[in-house]
Amino acid sequence: MEIKQVPPQVTKENIPDEWFTPREKNKNEQERLARPSLSYWKDAWRRLSKNYLAMSGLVFIVILIFMAIFGPILSPYEASTGVLSMQYQPPSAEHWFGTDNAGRDVFTRTWEGARISLFVGFMAALIDVTIGIIWGGISGYKGGRTDNVMMRIIEILYGIPYLLVVILLLVVLGPSLMTIIIALTVTGWVGMARIVRGQVMQIKNYEYILASKAFGTKTSRIIRRGLLPNSMGPIIVQMTLTVPSAIFAEAFLSFIGLGISSPNASWGVMANDSLGAILSGNWWTLFFPAFFISLTMFAFNVLGDGLQDALDPKLRK
């Protein structure tokens, strides 16, 4: 776009006569009027990448995933076996994060714990999203009686204090990683189902969905192609926020002795093992698991917040 600056001395009287001729239509004028349009995902990414807090969360998560995979391999020590004579060594060149009450290397155990935390977190989010999309999608799309019954079931499940159910299940099934994940997802999918239902109910009344219905498109196709892609935003946000709460739940359960148990490494177990140690001043046994679990949850939370802002079409400018 070209702006011709007019010298200030131009007044009504001294405007040259030749300016009073029909104006040439500028070719690119019409194109200029249409603002450059970005696709939804590109636009969201652009906004997310400007959010430094969320981006640092993302970077931390990537690093954590890398370390969870390669950390234990790189370390010369075993995570679950230690040398008792090497008990409570402070951080040093050999043991970067020190050693714990059984002489195990805290560095190795931290990444072993990251494996468990991330595995539980991602699995829980994945299972939640699968059940949630199916349940919420059907409930929201069908509406009417189906929706009513499905929502009542959700309402009932929602009322059950989930930690109690989880604990009961763990008591009966016996603690293991799989039990924890099953226990977490038994009630965990409810939140996701509610979100999907809300989205689907909103979107299904839009014209383009009504149009494809009028053409006789199959229901499953409408849900897969029309509804889900357009409700992905809130679903992704909810997934991101499910991960830290699952990580928390695993740590919590391991901490009270219902999840992973010593000598296996989990951040919850490590925190519990070090309860006695903090009184004697061996701070590192608590510090590292505490630091990493908090930072991991922080990273997922800020990423979730950032995604929420980035994916919310209301904020689009």
Binding site: M151, P161, L168, I256
Partner: protein
């Protein structure tokens, strides 16, 4: 309104029934008789238990008798502490847990709402950023980690507060702090976001156009509407606090219900597990129900549109 309450009541009763049944099914499906384990060393206790739970009778009779015992609030004796019934343990532990829970939720509400309002009114300024930084940290640090860190710093290193037990107000500070931080953060974030949304509403503009004083607009028009969503999550938060207190009571050696519950799990003391689960769930579900009713009273729209009130 009556229809709304009845609907919620029905759902509550149904939820309760599911919890009670679930507990029963899970306990029955534990391999072997739960009372034959090596932990129940006392012969007499075991006979009492078998009798109490009618283990010799067919399953459906067992179930009905179990339902009866729940309704009559008779959870039977403990295995580990032979001279104690589950009711004794509940009677001793529950008041302490409830006290901890109530103090915590009050602290979380007051600090969370204040922080949220301040952040919203100073949107995109330093107070806002600081408040939200505190809030994200509060959500990210697990309560048991915070508890241990607090003990390490404030009790062991600096000696400001007592390490454990439950005797005076100063004993309360650390557990309440550890337990309240998470809910406070959640309340602060929710208050801020709803407050920001409410402040852009037309009725706020209208109130300004009437020439009302700013504090009046905030207190009378904005706050009430902004706090509605906070009321809706109160129930869930309270549930979170009460279950969270399991681990906090463990760490601080507070003789509340959580302590008995965790102990009973570690000892596989099934009557106590069943009793506490049922009692606790009922308590929490009733709390959720009361919050729903409170919400219905606060929001005049619910009285009519209860069909859309989901």
């Amino acid at each position: 309104m009556l229809k709304y309450i009845l609907k919620k009541l029905l759902i509550m009763l149904f939820t309760l029934w599911i919890i009670i049944t679930l507990t029963f099914v899970l306990m029955v499906s534990v391999p072997g008789s739960p009372f034959n384990s090596e932990s129940s060393s006392n012969e007499i206790v075991q006979q009492n238990l078998e009798k109490h739970y009618n283990l010799d009778k067919p399953m459906h009779i067992q179930y009905l008798l179990y339902l009866k015992s729940v309704v009559t609030f008779d959870f039977g004796p403990s295995i580990k502490q032979p001279n104690q019934t589950v009711n004794d343990l509940l009677g001793r532990g529950f008041p302490i847990s409830a006290e901890l829970g109530i103090v915590t939720i009050i602290v979380a509400l007051i600090s969370g709402i204040t922080l949220g309002i301040l952040a919203a009114l100073r949107h995109n300024r330093i107070i806002d950023y600081a408040a939200m930084a505190i809030a994200v940290l509060g959500i990210s640090i697990p309560n048991f980690i915070l508890a241990t860190l607090l003990i390490q710093q404030l009790s062991v290193n600096w000696g400001i507060f007592p390490v454990a037990t439950w005797k005076s107000w100063s004993h309360m500070v650390l557990p309440v702090l550890a337990l309240a931080t998470g809910p406070m953060a959640i309340i602060a974030r929710l208050t801020r976001s709803t407050m920001l949304e409410v402040l852009t509403q037309d009725y706020i503009k209208m109130a300004r156009a009437k020439g009302l004083a700013p504090w009046k607009i905030i207190v009378k028009h904005a706050l009430r509407n902004a706090l509605m969503p906070v009321v809706t999550i109160m129930g869930t938060l309270f549930v979170g606090i009460m279950t969270g207190s399991f681990v906090i009571e463990q760490i601080f050696a507070i003789p509340g219900m959580g302590k008995y519950f965790v102990e009973s799990i570690n000892h596989r003391d099934f009557p106590v597990i069943m009793g506490t689960t049922v009692f606790y769930s009922s308590f929490l579900i009733i709390m959720l129900f009361l919050v729903d009713i409170a919400y219905g009273i606060l929001d005049p729209r619910i009285k009519v549109n209860n069909k859309e009130g989901d």
